[in-house]
């Protein structure tokens, strides 16, 4: 069955009889989910900043319309966790909000501008400082920055690579499960 039905796109594959109904439903639900424009957990400014962060962390070569910040907002609004957290981090929602405040403080400290108005190279530098535990700003007093960055990056990566269009990019065809 390998690849023979993947002459078109992953969308053709999902609609083919190589895919079980349970798998097709799961993937179509994800594909059909419209991007979140009105966040429930974050305020609009925080949400925009999270979207900018996701755009730094994930490269979309073909501009795939994959919403990453939206599923994170939904998870936090519904109080869902992945089953554990580092004991020295606050709860997930509080940690995300501290992070979003913190990266702006670091942007101001390093570049005299808000996170929204600096260049993408400068945003990379801010995030790199957070990842390396070297970010400056009062928000970081209550957040081990490198550890939260690991959590953030993991969630962003998992959301992105769960999307069939991202999976197609890496040559994955395992959704053909029958």
């Amino acid at each position: 069955m390998e690849n023979t039905s993947l002459s078109g796109s992953v969308l053709d594959l999902i609609n083919s009889d190589h895919v079980t109904p349970a798998t097709r439903n799961a993937l179509q639900n994800r594909l059909n989910q419209p991007p979140i424009t009105e966040p429930k957990f974050f305020d609009e400014k925080q949400f925009k900043r999270l979207q900018l962060t996701c755009n730094q962390l994930i490269i979309r070569l073909n501009k795939e319309p994959i919403d990453i910040a939206g599923p994170i907002d939904i998870r936090l609004a519904n109080g869902i966790t992945n089953g554990w957290r580092y004991d020295d981090l606050p709860n997930d929602g509080e940690a995300y909000r501290l992070f979003l405040t913190g990266i702006n403080q670091t942007a101001e400290a390093l570049f005299d501008h808000s996170f929204e108005t600096i260049t993408t190279e400068q945003r990379d530098a801010v995030l790199r400082a957070v990842q390396q535990g070297e970010a400056t700003g009062p928000a970081w007093q209550n957040l081990p920055t490198d550890r939260f960055f690991e959590e953030l990056l993991t969630e962003v990566t998992e959301v992105y690579y769960s999307h069939p269009l991202a999976q197609q990019q890496i040559g994955y065809t395992g959704m053909a499960d029958q």
Binding site: E2, Q56, G83, E150, G171
Partner: protein, 510 residues
Amino acid sequence: MTENTIVDAVVIGTGAGGAPLLARLAMAGLKVVVLEAGKFWKATEDFATDERAQDFLFWNDERLSAGNDPIAFGRNNSGTGVGGSTLHYTAYTPRLQPDDLRLRTDFGVSEDWPLDYQRDIEPYYDELEQFLGVSGPAQYPWGPIRKTSYRYGPLPVNGAGRLMEKGCRELGIRTSPAANAALSAPQFQEGYGWRSACTNRGFCQAGCNNGAKASMDVTFIPLAIQHGAEVRAECFVTGFERDSQGRITAVVYEQDGQEQRQRCLNVFLCAGAIETPRLLLINNVANSSQQVGRNLMAHTALQIWGEFEQEMQPWRGIPGAVISEDTHRPAEADFVGGYLLQSIGVMPVTYASQLARGRGLWGQSLHEAMSRYNHVAGINIMGECLPYEHNFLELSDEKDSRGLPKPRVHFSMGENEERLTSHANQIMREVWAAAGARNLWAFPRNAHIIGTARMGTDRETAVVDPNGRSFDIPNLYISDSSTFPSALSVNPALTIMALSLRTADNFLKS
């Protein structure tokens, strides 16, 4: 069944510890009820070949991970639903070796098991491998000579497995197709019907969708139901009622937001090595030894990943296809115990997640590493871990959605785990280099929680006796990996099931 019915036994948990004894008790004619926190899925209809959609298989109530090597839970070390963690285990079912039971005798550390391999464990392995339908090699190179053959021939060796065979051959390390509790031929299962042969879909860790994998929901649970056991899903146990002698008279649980109780003569607590001690600590019972939650161990489980010239399709096939136990007791080792080597396949989101967590890759570097996903194969170990004073589970002040304290798990590797891991790191890198790998990288991890309600012969230092019976509460039994006195250098599922059957048999004899 009315609220006032007194059943012979309430079993708490439907995983590898609970399901086998549930079936055994039901087949002996006892009136038994099992309470399971998660749902009763119908895998053939409900399970998607998609990691994110299958998140419901994991125990996603938050646990707090502390120490120098905090343990990941969720998809790594937990399970929920009828079948427990067996819903997402890889079905890897090596037997322990007799010297795994004698670390104290052989090395002067950890604990000996108060059990005899030939008398107490081997007969159950023989029975389980037939019942579950374990697929394995005709000749297994390690351990005592087997009295029985594996029921079926080995599953096809996938890409990672072939590379491990190649790399090990060059280094003179013996390998074998691994024993896996997944069918290489269809099997009829009493109470369930025909289980299909494995289709090499490779999603064992996200739930098997055709019954090929011997999870409890397609094996012991249907057998138990056939013999009259009642399975109550979505019931979360919160406590016990006890009489003036301290015996448990009823199990208290939440169902649909309502508190319920089930009166009973006996209780079998099989909730896994986190929820079992958590429930005992919350209720402050069975802990006169002060050992509940202590002695927490987690296998050393370092993974080495590499990229290969050829396409691997790393999601294909039984993930742990090839094994070596040549490192069970390595010559001139500077550590106690040993480990097994295992080839590993990997699903895409799991691999991406580990690149993020383990290497901190993002942007262009993450994109490039993931663009080579289809060329990736892994090798890992399952190794000994010693019990330490500093590794334990406690109740935190933070409450979960039910108002119960979240568990906090302290874990730091000791010198023995560091040395063992360092030894394994070098060997695995050599094997992978010999197999042609480039861009090697290591993902450190610890898997399987063990030891938090240990078994022993002395009520001062152990929670349960060698039959799994509480020293403090004579009608309470514990059956899961929390009773293991030492960690073993093999995956625990088959041994958990063996002890479960043994506990049931000894209970029925008494």
